[in-house]
């Protein structure tokens, strides 16, 4: 029983498989619709199995922000068009084992892309840090 973050990247990570290389704005509208419908269905399945925690899609462009001293407004920078790594969205799931989390990530990676074929995009799986267990020694 542990939580895992599944990260969908627009960019970053290992070299993408061929079908994941075409940017989404070059897909047909139906291919985009099918892709999104697949992910909604996956979320529903996870809910139905009692494994869903949360998820969201993210705007591709963001701003970097930092503290600039007491009483001063936050300093912002960006957006950076050339950022190597962009996160498109995430899901948090609650699984019995890491293996199950990997299976869910692989399934997410099978979402249809151009030509209705599996995208095979890389999904990053990051385990949550939990509470320390009661029994330690």
């Amino acid at each position: 029983m542990a939580k895992y973050l599944l990260l969908k990247h627009y960019r970053g990570g290992p070299k993408q498989m061929p079908n994941a290389e075409t940017p989404m704005d070059q897909w047909t509208p139906q291919e985009v619709t099918d892709h999104i419908a697949f992910m909604d269905r996956m979320a529903d399945d996870l809910r139905e199995r009692g494994q869903w925690v949360s998820g969201a899609a993210l705007s591709p462009e963001g701003t970097f922000v930092r503290f600039d001293g007491e009483g001063r407004p936050p300093v912002t920078d960006g957006p950076f068009a050339e950022t190597k790594d962009v996160v498109a969205g995430w899901m948090v799931i609650d699984m019995d084992t890491l293996e199950q989390a990997h299976e869910a990530a692989a399934y997410l990676s099978s979402a249809p892309g151009p030509g209705g074929l599996p995208l095979q995009e890389w999904i990053e799986v990051r385990p949550f840090l939990g509470n320390p267990t009661t029994v330690t020694e």
């Binding site: 029983m1 939580k3 809910r47 139905e48 199995r49 009692g50 494994q51 869903w52 925690v53 949360s54 609650d94 019995d96 385990p127 840090l129 939990g130 509470n131 320390p132 267990t133 009661t134 029994v135 330690t136 020694e137």
Partner: protein, 394 residues
């Protein structure tokens, strides 16, 4: 509990009623399941009986609340069966009324536990169903404890119920699986407002009251001995305090005495199992007034027993810690070679042994590596502080 005024007294009566129902609901459910009611249907019937109780008990609570609830819930259940049968226009299956007499609480609880820890359920499903059906907790409380949405937990529980309903209890239940589920609940610790360790202890006490198995007693002893140290395990701001640095004056001596008594009686039965061995190790730690009073030779002997019983690499790693304390860090490092590289916390143990052996540079590197591998935030922070402490020393 003493009432200090009428308003307060009324409030406490309400609280008492809540506690009473929390205890009774799983027992009533268990009676219905034993009488052959299907799990989900039994739960519905108990809910109906509770509504009836809310309506009628204010005029006078029955002398035997449990008997009352069983009677009403069983009648509700039969009503549903009859109307379903009528609706489907088929013959009503003859449901023989069960023999009168007091309900067998302990056996019923055990039966319900076997059902909730069914072999076709994943650990997380078994945990959720156990807390709901035997623990009498609400879905909302369980969801909050495990930090998932309530709808997710509701699904997990209803799926588990369906699995149990289609499979039923086949053959004798597996007590070992029940103990592992209770241990999982205990080990999850403190989630949100709900104290899962306390819930696990409550359930294990209930189980221990109805079974003679020394491993049940062993698990209960283990829980009590660890629970006794609860206050000293974290600083006020949540940082982890290792066993050797805990303020032992804050250990709960009442719980320790109870745990040791239960363990002693279990060990006397001469049927050693892994929970008794784990409890024996916890008891040796609890027994030491100061860390340097710990009888590490005996701790090591118990780890040898435990390793023989479980053949678990995690136990093998914990045994290495005991070797390091009993025979010195170099002996510990030698024993560590036999522990597979992928066992969680191996790097942290190695760091500690290297530090004690005076190899501070290696220790620091390994504390950092262990922090990156830690499975909990508190552990990661603790290991990072260890690395920081050695910074510039090696």
């Amino acid at each position: 509990m003493t009432a200090s005024g009428t308003a307060n007294g009324a409030f406490e009566a309400q609280v008492d009623q809540g506690d009473l129902l929390k205890t009774l609901v799983p027992q009533v459910l268990a009676v219905l399941v034993r009488r052959g009611a299907e799990f989900a249907a039994a739960e519905d019937a108990v809910q109906e009986a509770l509504l009836e109780a809310v309506r009628r008990w204010p005029d006078g609570r029955p002398d035997d609340p449990k008997g009352w609830l069983v009677t009403v819930a069983w009648r509700k259940h039969l009503d549903v069966l009859r109307s379903e049968a009528a609706r489907r226009r088929r013959e009503l299956v003859d449901h023989a009324e069960p023999p009168a007499g007091p309900a067998q609480t302990d056996d019923d609880t055990l039966l319900l536990l076997f059902l909730c820890c069914h072999r076709d359920l994943t650990p997380s499903s078994a945990v959720a169903l156990t807390l709901r059906a035997v623990g009498g907790l609400t879905t909302k409380q369980i969801a909050a404890a495990y930090l998932v949405p309530e709808a997710t937990m509701a699904q997990r529980i209803s799926r588990a119920k369906r699995t149990v309903a289609t499979q039923g209890v086949q053959g004798p239940g597996d007590l070992g699986r029940v103990l592992r589920v209770l241990y999982l609940i205990f080990n999850e610790g403190y989630g949100g407002d709900l104290d899962l360790t306390a819930e696990a202890i409550r359930l294990t006490r209930q189980l221990a009251a109805g079974t003679q198995d020394p491993e049940v007693a062993g698990l209960l002893a283990l829980m009590l001995l660890h629970h006794a140290r609860r206050e000293s395990r974290f600083t006020a701001d949540g940082a982890l305090v290792p066993l050797a640095e805990q303020d032992r004056s804050r250990w709960n001596t009442t719980l320790i005495a109870e745990g040791i008594g239960i363990l002693q009686a279990a060990l006397d039965r001469d049927r050693l199992g892994e929970f008794q061995a784990q409890a024996a190790i916890a008891a040796l730690h609890a027994d030491a007034q100061r860390p340097e009073d710990t009888d590490w030779t005996q701790v090591l002997q118990w780890y040898d027993e435990l390793l023989a019983l479980t053949d678990s690499p995690v136990v093998a790693l914990n045994r290495v810690v005991a070797v390091g304390e009993a025979d010195g860090p170099l002996a510990g490092l030698r024993a560590l070679r036999d522990v597979p590289a992928d066992v969680p916390r191996r790097t942290a143990v190695s760091a500690h042994l290297h530090e004690r052996a005076g190899d501070l540079g290696v220790a620091r590197e390994e504390y950092l590596a262990a922090a990156r591998l830690a499975a909990s935030g508190a552990e990661r922070d603790h290991l990072t502080r260890q690395a920081a402490r050695l910074h510039g020393l090696g």
